[in-house]
């Protein structure tokens, strides 16, 4: 059974500037115990995907498709049922953990409050659960009486990981869990996430723009570009045999830690506007291999057995 199965998810936002086409026909699935990476550059729609699964962005949203979580369709659930799933069955590690908890309430109280919103548990048991979870992320349970701003950046991220795992959810969604941290803390947090997933027997969707940092812990990877999945595969497939031109470019834009200045092979150009509809391939303007067919025809969609959304797939 799949823990999460997203099919044909299309999300638009209507604003005064027009309709923003953010996600276009996205298919994504996560199996039990799997760690799945969702990689893409800023504005590609990664966070929107996470927010849509948790129904955190319902303002001005137009949505179609299907999101099945543990064989239950989330799109048709009422607000109260979604609320009960959030936090207890799907944990969320936010993009910016810096201000992710109320600064005026002690951390432990906010942990207690999270448990109370989902289950009835005697206080003693809650305190033990919190202490156990905090110990798992190497934070002294005695510090639960501190305020959130009294922790360092890395500690705050670990607190958020502990909070997301508190009720042993079936799925964790980590939205850019390492972005705000420095390189050494980043790898620690990634390892911690992996350990927690193993210990708690859960699954995880990790969202990042940083293919190199995240890929280390992922079983499978989805590459997203301009609201579409352009390539998917196991970690080995993506890292060693990238097939979509975008994935190839992402991999070659690696910045190695070297003392002498190096030239980084970035990707020229900008991602396309979410306001426009594209008739051809949306990567067209930035692609080295682009030809006439890319302009006139849409590339295949990354659905079912199709793993790469490119016209030239299978040719080279």
């Amino acid at each position: 059974m799949q823990v999460l199965k997203i099919q044909g998810l299309t999300v638009d936002f209507s604003t005064k500037a027009g309709i923003h086409h953010v996600l276009k026909n996205v298919d994504l699935s996560i199996g039990k115990g799997e760690i799945v990476g969702l990689i893409g550059e800023s504005g590609s729609g990664k966070s929107t995907l996470a927010m849509t699964v948790l129904d955190l962005n319902s303002r001005n949203r137009i949505v179609s498709g299907s999101i099945r979580f543990m064989d239950e369709e989330l799109m048709t659930l009422d607000k109260e049922k979604i609320r009960k799933i959030r936090g207890s069955h799907i944990g969320f590690v936010p993009q910016s953990s810096m201000n992710a908890l109320n600064p005026l309430m002690r951390v432990k109280r906010q942990f207690v409050e999270t448990i109370k919103s989902h289950t009835d548990m005697p206080l003693q048991q809650m305190v033990e659960l919190i202490a156990r979870t905090l110990a798992m992320v190497s934070i002294d349970p005695a510090r639960g009486d501190s305020f959130f701003y009294e922790f360092s950046g890395g500690q705050r991220q670990r607190l958020m990981i502990a909070l997301s795992m508190l009720l042993s959810p079936e799925l964790i969604i980590a939205d850019e869990p390492t972005t705000a941290l420095d390189a050494t803390v980043q790898s620690k947090i990634i390892d911690l996430l992996k350990n927690m997933v193993l210990q708690k027997h859960t699954s995880m969707l990790v969202i990042s723009h940083d293919l190199h940092t995240i890929s280390r812990v992922c079983d499978r990877i989805y590459i997203m570009y301009a609201g579409k999945i352009v390539e998917t595969g196991t970690r080995e497939e993506i890292l060693t045999r990238p097939r979509h031109p975008y994935t190839q470019k992402l991999l070659s834009s690696r910045l190695s830690l070297m003392a002498e200045p190096v030239k980084v092979n970035g990707i020229p150009g900008n991602p396309p506007s979410v306001l426009k509809e594209y008739f051809g391939c949306s990567f067209l303007e930035r692609c080295d291999r682009a030809s006439l067919v890319c302009k006139t025809e849409k590339p295949p969609e990354c659905i079912g057995n199709v793993k790469v959304a490119c016209h030239f797939e299978g040719e080279s």
Binding site: I85, L101, N102, T114, S117, S164
Partner: protein, 331 residues
């Protein structure tokens, strides 16, 4: 942490003591830089309708009796000593000690302004939060029209309207005063009922004057808070709407409490109008009447007491805020 908080509270307290000292000083020096002298204002000048003719020697003796021939700084020290003993002189109009009059009026003002403050703060915060929570939809838009409109209606007009409609036409409430004169109360319950029925109209009038400011402030602060990451995260960890509102409120209450305390001065001004319209025997009406009667000692005494009250409320707000937000005074 608690030591820091006490340090903060004490240093704020000293600032308020200094402010109060400055107010006393202004209160002392301002009349002395104005043209004319104390005798002139009491006895009238040669050109006034009923000039009291006194010779120079009597004048000097009188000035001497009131220590008005002393140098200014000596007079100021005398003034401070008297103020410390709550001696603000005699009212020209009533000819009784100023402090006695003020102490008789203060309870009524505390009752009126206190209840109005509680009512306006409660509804202002509640409506502000709900408005921000439902920002952009009907309730919010409606309140955004009603509140500024309410604010633009002058308090004396609203008061007169209430007296006419609710007091005179419908006869629901007494139209003036704080108690029914010469009434025999059957018991304490009757007395309380009488006081409350007199209180309701002026209280709502003053609250209506005060509430829009609180509402607009709380709404704006809450709208800002709702965009904060901790609110998104609160939703993401499955908290109920009620709990999320609580989080937002805790974070909005500090600026709200500070602002409400800072606006107390305006409320005092509002109270002058409201008390005059309803003939409510509080400080506001006292100030109004003593101004009409040029009763300067009483006016000065009333100002000092009112500034003392406003300062005390601000200090209380500071202390409350330092308990809500542990970061206050730590930077």
């Amino acid at each position: 942490m608690d030591g820091k908080r006490w340090g903060h509270i004490i240093s704020r307290g000293l600032e308020y003591v200094l402010t109060f000292f400055l107010i006393l000083a202004i209160n002392f020096f301002l009349p002395r830089v104005m043209p004319g002298g104390p005798l002139l204002s009491i006895l009238g000048s040669q050109s006034s309708d009923l000039p009291v003719v006194i010779d120079e020697e009597t004048k000097y003796k009188l000035m001497d009796y009131y220590h008005l021939n002393d140098p200014l700084h000596v007079q100021f020290i005398h003034y401070l000593m008297d103020a410390a003993h709550l001696d603000f002189g005699y009212s020209i109009f009533y000819n009784v000690p100023v402090v006695d009059i003020i102490l008789g009026r203060l309870p009524w003002t505390f009752l009126l302004m206190g209840t109005a403050l509680v009512v306006s703060t409660f509804f202002g915060i509640w409506l502000g939060l709900e408005s921000a929570w439902n920002r952009g939809n009907k309730l919010d838009n409606l309140l955004l029209v009603i509140m500024p409109t309410l604010r633009s209606v002058p308090a004396f007009f609203l008061g007169a309207l209430m007296i006419f409609l609710l007091g005179y036409k419908m006869g629901l409430f007494p139209v003036s005063g704080a108690v029914t004169p010469y009434m025999d109360y059957g018991g304490i319950a009757d007395r309380i009922k009488d006081i409350l029925s007199h209180l309701i109209l002026p209280m709502f009038c003053l609250a209506a004057f005060e509430m829009p400011g609180t509402y607009l402030l709380v709404r704006n602060v809450c709208v800002q808070q709702l965009e904060r990451p901790y609110v998104l995260m609160a939703t993401a960890r499955g908290l109920k709407d009620r709990s999320i509102k609580k989080h937002v409120l805790i974070n909005s209450i500090v600026p709200a409490v500070n602002q409400i305390a800072a606006m107390l001065g305006f409320m005092v001004a509002g109270a002058v109008f409201v008390e005059t319209v309803f003939a409510y025997p509080g400080m506001g009406m006292l100030v109004y009447n003593s101004f009409i009667e040029r009763d300067y000692p009483l006016l000065q005494g009333a100002f000092i007491f009112m500034s003392l009250c406003v300062l005390a409320c601000n200090y209380a707000a500071d202390i409350i805020c330092s308990y809500i937000d542990g970061r206050t005074g730590q930077e």
